[in-house]
């Protein structure tokens, strides 16, 4: 009887843990789904494959990640990369040819959150915080953000923040390179 009571209590606790984990992963989906979808697409070049892998990732996170790591973007990216590798190896084993000729399943456009300057500033800070130690100055980060986020031209950025357009171009190339270095290096760690 005591054992039954203990089992019931354990089940209740596990259910509570599950609900808490679902809430944490759902929060993470809101914050990172679109980002990780783009990341996976950069690897698979297939939207449908990227979508499927991302669903696998959320399932894996829910069932296996330590609770305090659920919201850690570098770990999510790393696991996404490993899922991509598994997926790729499976395709090789099956003899499936990876081409861009496979039918594309369009992905709905992301729902753009209403723009506010404060909100965007906070997001920008959070974004760069995901890459601690990145070798870029604040000005260089700002330049890449303005170009990639809002599509400002080099000239427009020059007018906006007073950095010569040619330097803006150099910084954008540098910024992309530094980001890619960090993302590619984290897979080896």
């Amino acid at each position: 009887m005591a054992a039954l009571k203990f089992a019931a209590a354990s089940t209740e606790t596990a259910e509570a843990v599950f609900e808490r984990r679902v809430a944490a992963v759902s929060q993470c989906v809101g914050d990172y789904h679109t980002y990780l979808l783009n990341y996976l697409f950069s690897l698979t070049r297939q939207w449908q494959d990227a979508e499927n892998l991302l669903q696998d990732l959320w399932r894996y996170v829910l069932l296996n990640f330590d609770e305090d790591k659920i919201h850690a973007l570098p770990l999510l990216r790393r696991k996404a990369y490993h899922l991509f590798l598994d997926h790729y190896r499976r395709q090789v084993r099956r003899g499936e040819v990876l081409t861009d000729e496979m039918p594309e399943v369009p992905v709905q456009q992301p729902n753009f959150a209403p723009f506010t300057e404060d909100g965007e500033a906070a997001l920008r800070e959070k974004f760069w915080g995901e890459y601690p130690g990145i070798d870029l100055s604040e000005k260089q980060k700002e330049v890449l953000w303005l170009h990639a986020r809002y599509g400002f031209t080099f000239k427009e950025i020059e007018e906006r923040i007073g950095v010569a357009a040619s330097t803006v171009g150099d910084w954008i190339v540098l910024g992309r390179k530094r980001l890619a270095e960090i993302i590619n290096n984290e897979r080896r760690n």
Binding site: F18, T34, R176
Partner: protein, 58 residues
């Protein structure tokens, strides 16, 4: 075939897309779809926890 093998390397020219997508919420329908998928994992999670509990008890 070789030219179709993805390198798996994150290319520099993809960085802009990550910046553009950062913090953008998925469509509510998509979020609901994922939430439903997550909830379907409950039995598996509970089973997993039970197994862990048994292993700890040994």
């Amino acid at each position: 075939m070789a030219q179709n093998i993805p390198s798996g390397r994150f290319e520099e020219n993809e960085a802009d897309k990550l910046i553009a997508a950062y913090g953008k919420k998925p469509e509510p329908e998509k979020q609901q779809e994922i939430a439903a998928m997550l909830k379907e994992q409950k039995a598996k999670f509970l089973e997993q926890e039970r197994t862990k509990g048994q292993e700890r008890g040994r």
